[in-house]
């Protein structure tokens, strides 16, 4: 009912776009709730960067699809099963430690990904990735600094940061899944097969955890499905909130 009808090329770009869009939406939901004003600034900045990446990617996906869909059509008028983001970005955070843990796991994946995508054969993808890599470098650094502070801060912050990692680690494997879409994108030069990014991610994250006196989780569970439009139950609520107003005024512009 969803991704099955789109080409591998469109699906690949949508995955990139949806990761950025959905994480921006989650971070935007944290606005005015940060532990200090500087973090309201920092988190909204990250959200703005991600939204700024999502928009040209959605537009590009619409162009590649060739059905005349705009960035807003794709953001506001797709059903949940047609969103191709990884599940990690949709998981609602329950405290600041989870916000940071999610950002750490995701940025450590997105940074090397964007560095390679900067040479994509698709000019839009390459442009977003080149500019985006600089932004994500900051996102990663922000997450690393807070991981150190929380991991090596107080007993409570250590406990919370470790718990946040335990909760989110099951969503990490999905970032590196290969399938027909990623293989086709890698073959054509449009994209990257993310399996190749795994070793670097492991080394990067492990080093941060070690310095932060945190332990790498060993979860039983491995989430999967987001890339095929199978999401967590939290996703429907995120979309209901995001899309409701737009869908309430069919055909209107804003």
């Amino acid at each position: 009912m969803s991704a099955a009808v789109v080409t591998a090329e469109v699906a690949y770009v949508l995955r990139l776009a949806d990761d950025a869009l959905v994480l921006a939406q989650r971070l935007a939901g944290q606005l005015t709730r940060a532990p200090q004003l500087e973090e309201d600034v920092a988190l909204s900045n990250i959200a703005l960067d991600l939204l700024g990446q999502a928009r040209p990617l959605l537009t590009r996906a619409g162009e590649l699809e060739g059905a005349g869909r705009s960035e807003d059509d794709l953001a506001y008028l797709r059903e949940e099963r047609a969103f191709l983001n990884c599940q990690l970005v949709e998981v609602p955070e329950r405290d600041f430690a989870e916000t940071i843990a999610r950002q750490l796991l995701f940025s450590c994946y997105q940074l090397p990904l964007y560095r390679v995508l900067a040479t994509s054969t698709d000019e839009v993808v390459a442009g977003v990735a080149e500019k985006g890599a600089k932004e994500v470098d900051y996102h990663r650094d922000h997450a690393v600094q807070w991981t150190l502070r929380l991991g090596d801060g107080t007993d409570e912050s250590h406990r919370r940061m470790q718990a946040a990692l335990e909760r989110l680690w099951p969503y990490a494997d999905e970032l590196f899944e290969s399938d027909d879409v990623t293989r086709a994108a890698a073959a054509s030069g449009l994209g990257v097969d993310p399996a190749g990014l795994r070793a670097g991610w492991d080394a990067d994250v492990d080093a941060v955890l070690a310095e932060a006196t945190l332990t790498r989780p060993q979860p039983v569970r491995r989430a999967t499905g987001g890339r095929r439009g199978v999401h967590t139950e939290a996703m429907g609520y995120l979309l209901a909130e995001m899309q409701h107003l737009h869908r309430s005024h069919p055909g209107a512009t804003w």
Binding site: A28, G29, T32, D40, L48, L51, T154, L245, A252, W254
Partner: protein, 302 residues
């Protein structure tokens, strides 16, 4: 120096009452910026287009930034941010009452930008020439950003007003709800504003409440006409002789009610703020503990 129209700087001598008045005003202004993030933050996740979402998000982020400058300006007077936040959270310092109204529809993002930011600019532009340097300088930057926000708000309303009938109605409804509270932002009428005279003498304030209010109305009326929206005041009329738009009576009872806690969102705004602060206590403690450990490590290594 105040009398000589020069700037007072942090290290200059200043009368204690002048310092206290400034601290109170700058703190209230800073609190207004951060409480003011809530009514607009309420619509970021629901913005009807990605472009509007980005603009709104950036605007709310700017407000957090304004809060930061203003707390810094207050800190030059020997108080610290944590102390001022405690006073806010305890209900012992105020923020602008306008933020005790709810944002009910997307059009409120337009009305807040156009009217609330518009009124704020009229209030604040004179402060860019106020007698206390750090406050004046913070205000220069803030006013520049707020002009930008005001144009964005106007643009949101303009688009809605010229959109579908539902969008036009939404815009009109928002203006109907925000107009009078915006006029109240200039404070009570001059004959009931006891502190104004002193603030004017000290050049913390440069125009009276009623003067500023009139300036705002004179700006807003033609803008409303350009928007194709009406202002909810049957008494509004052009006074040819004076060269001013005359407005009807303001409901000062409502103003007093909202000021003293009986506004639609007073409790909600403060609770939200206090909860964010309390939920974040462990994070701030962790940052302090980490900084201390790092400092100790640096000393040990030295």
């Amino acid at each position: 120096m105040v009398a000589a129209d020069e700037r007072v700087e942090p290290r200059d001598w200043m009368p204690e009452a002048y310092r206290r008045t400034l601290v109170r005003q700058i703190a209230q202004h800073a609190h207004s910026e951060i409480i003011g993030m809530q009514p607009e933050g309420n619509w970021v996740t629901r913005a009807p287009s990605l472009r509007r979402k980005a603009i709104l998000l950036a605007k709310v982020q700017d407000e957090a930034g304004h809060g930061l400058y203003l707390y810094s300006a207050a800190e030059t007077l020997g108080v610290d941010r944590a102390e001022l936040l405690d006073l806010l959270h305890a209900g012992r310092q105020k923020y602008s009452s306008i933020f005790n109204y709810p944002t009910l529809t997307w059009a409120d993002m337009g009305a807040i930008g156009w009217l609330v930011d518009g009124a704020a600019i009229v209030n604040q532009v004179p402060i860019t020439r106020c007698s206390y340097g750090p406050y004046a300088r913070a205000m220069v930057r803030i006013c520049k950003e707020e002009s930008f926000h005001q144009r964005q708000g106007f643009e949101v309303l303009h688009h809605l007003s010229h959109g579908t009938p539902e969008q036009h109605a939404m815009a009109q409804d928002a203006v109907d709800r925000w107009w009078w509270p915006s006029l109240m932002m200039f404070g009570p009428p001059d004959d009931r504003s006891p502190n104004s005279a002193r603030s004017m003498a000290w050049r913390i304030k440069r125009f009276s409440n009623d003067e500023l209010r009139q300036r705002f109305v004179d700006m807003a009326v033609p803008q409303a006409q350009a928007l194709g929206l009406t202002l909810p005041d049957p008494d509004l009329r052009w006074d040819e002789e004076a060269g001013h738009w005359r407005y009807g009576p303001i409901d000062w009872d409502e103003f007093a009610r909202v000021l003293t806690g009986d506004g639609p969102c007073n409790a909600q705004r403060l609770e939200h703020r206090v909860r964010a602060h309390e939920d974040g206590a462990w994070v701030r403690e962790a940052a302090t503990a980490y900084a201390q450990k790092q400092a100790a490590r640096a000393r040990a290594a030295a």
